[in-house]
């Protein structure tokens, strides 16, 4: 038979557990409510742009809360062809592609030299590259315009590619160097024992090992350079050469009353990086956190 004190204790413990259980559920509900509300804050503007990209002006003004009844896919065509976003999309592909390829080629080389090789002025060189992460792109803007003009590069794709490479290099070199520092020395010794030269060691051993890091660097720079706006604003004159963000800005001026195509243009400019993000979410999150803590 269970004595009185034990019974009380058991009942007390039972009610305590129950209360805790309730508190847990309440806590969870609150937690999901807060996170859900924040998700709404993040997603609603994007959702709203998506919905409006399929409306005509009448629906846009008269039924602000409803879904598009007859989705107007022509809005996208109008933005792409009429707003000449197709052209800018291609320009962005060329600029981003060539910049990222160049960075992916030369950043590992410099990163390897800084991590594994001894040469004069190595430390100052490292700090010089590092300084690139802390300087605002706007600072050197005026001399950059002057430089591009005197090189005769204004309105060519190089006027964006070269500064994009220069400003993308510091973080990329920093990430590559961190990777190469971590390769054990014993691998160098083994490679030497097999009779590999220094150059072969880089091209045949170290570089292939670094492919995942090179990929992260490339993905990250793809997002940054695709979204780059400031250089494109001051270094490009001809609308034929605009990249996406710049074209979007102009689009706003000319299509200010055509809300469907305007919203479609926003979606078209954002879709490539969103796709890249959904495919490489973890890499981008890790890389951007690293990039941010190093770069701002």
């Amino acid at each position: 038979m269970v004595g009185f004190p034990e019974r009380v204790e058991a009942r007390a413990r039972y009610s305590l557990e129950r209360r805790k259980h309730h508190k847990n559920i309440a806590g969870r509900v609150l937690l999901y409510a807060v996170l859900g509300f924040y998700s709404l804050y993040v997603l609603y503007p994007l959702f709203w742009v998506g919905v409006n990209s399929l409306k005509d002006n009448q629906a846009f003004f008269e039924q602000p809360w409803s879904m598009p009844v007859n989705p107007r896919w022509e809005n996208y065509r109008e933005a792409w062809v009429g707003g000449r976003l197709g052209r800018s999309f291609a320009n962005s592909m060329v600029v981003t592609g060539l910049s990222v390829l160049s960075i992916a080629f030369i950043a590992p080389m410099a990163g390897y030299a800084l991590a594994r090789l001894d040469f004069p002025l190595k430390r100052p060189l490292f700090y010089l590259f590092l300084s690139g992460m802390f300087v605002a792109p706007v600072t050197g803007l005026i001399p950059l315009v002057k430089l591009m003009r005197s090189l005769g590069l204004v309105d060519t794709c190089w006027t964006l590619i070269l500064p994009n490479i220069a400003y993308g290099l510091p973080l990329s070199i920093f990430m590559m160097r961190s990777f190469f520092v971590g390769i054990p020395r014993s691998i160098d010794d083994a490679a030497t024992a097999y009779g590999l030269s220094r150059w072969q060691m880089y091209w045949l051993i170290a570089l292939p090992m670094s492919v995942p890091t090179v990929n992260t660097v490339a993905i990250l720079q793809t997002v940054y350079i695709w979204n780059e706006f400031l250089f494109s604003l001051v270094l490009v004159r001809s609308p034929e050469r605009f990249t996406m963000p710049r074209a979007l800005m102009t689009f706003k001026g000319t299509f200010i009353t055509a809300f469907g195509p305007l919203n479609a243009a926003v979606i078209l400019s954002a879709v490539p990086t969103i796709i890249v993000y959904f495919v490489f979410a973890d890499r981008i999150r890790r890389g951007m956190s690293m990039g941010f803590s190093a770069k701002g």
Binding site: L117, G140, L147, F229, A270
Partner: protein
Amino acid sequence: MIGLHDLKRKRDSESLMGVALAAPALLVFLVFFVYPNLEVAYLSLFNWAGISKLKTFVGLDNYAELIFRDEVFRKAIVNTAVIALQSIVIQIPAALAISVALNRRLALGRLFMTIFFLPTVISLVATGMIWSLMYDPSFGSINLLLGVLGLERLQPAWLGDPSTALLAVIITINWVYVGLYAVILSSALKTIPQSVFDSAKVDGLSEFATTVRITAPMLREVIAVLVVMSVSGSFKSFDLIWSMTGGGPVNSTEIVTTHLYKMAFRYMRSGYASAIGVCIFLICLAITAVQLKAMKVRAAGRREG
């Protein structure tokens, strides 16, 4: 036996390869980063319209005007400081709260993380346009929503009104960065052992008390980095405000970078704008120096501990 000669030759070949591998990156970096950032200091000493060949040397006059006579620059510094300050007192605590919530191994944790980070990958120009449409007084969702909630009196012109424009811009800035900070903080949170939180619970600490008194102090290194980075980020940012307000109305959202841009490319005062550039450079340098010092202190502390 390896002779001294061989050793020297070996070292020479290593140096040669190091220089050769670093050379392409160095070349591009020197020409398109280092050179412009040095030349700006030289150009800041001139009265120069940018396009013309004609430059007049004016010494430090540009700086004197900037510091003593430029009201807009003063306004821009104040606005930039407000944005930096709010990132410390609003963004980072909000991000910390979200990261603590995400640390609870929720079933939908990864989904939330994916959503919160999403704005970070969208171009700031597109973000600015999305929010400009949202803020529009006649058809924007925000005022429509306020209307539905019966708050018709509380329907400001947002970006069109100098008294609300900065607030509106800040709401958008937070939309972009809180998620990024939350992701950074939650990856740092994962390094704190669960036993710490368990013992806090045993000691009867509430969730809030645990976050404020235990979690935040344990993350102070990461938080310090975020503080420094968001402050220097405020002095570097341009795209978002440019696409939302262009610094207006009546300079109410002017920041140092938009002021520089207007001086150089709208008012054709490239020498003067270069002086602004030098100021931004010096501010970023000072912030970085503080950060490097903090990191050094941290590294020293780690060695002792």
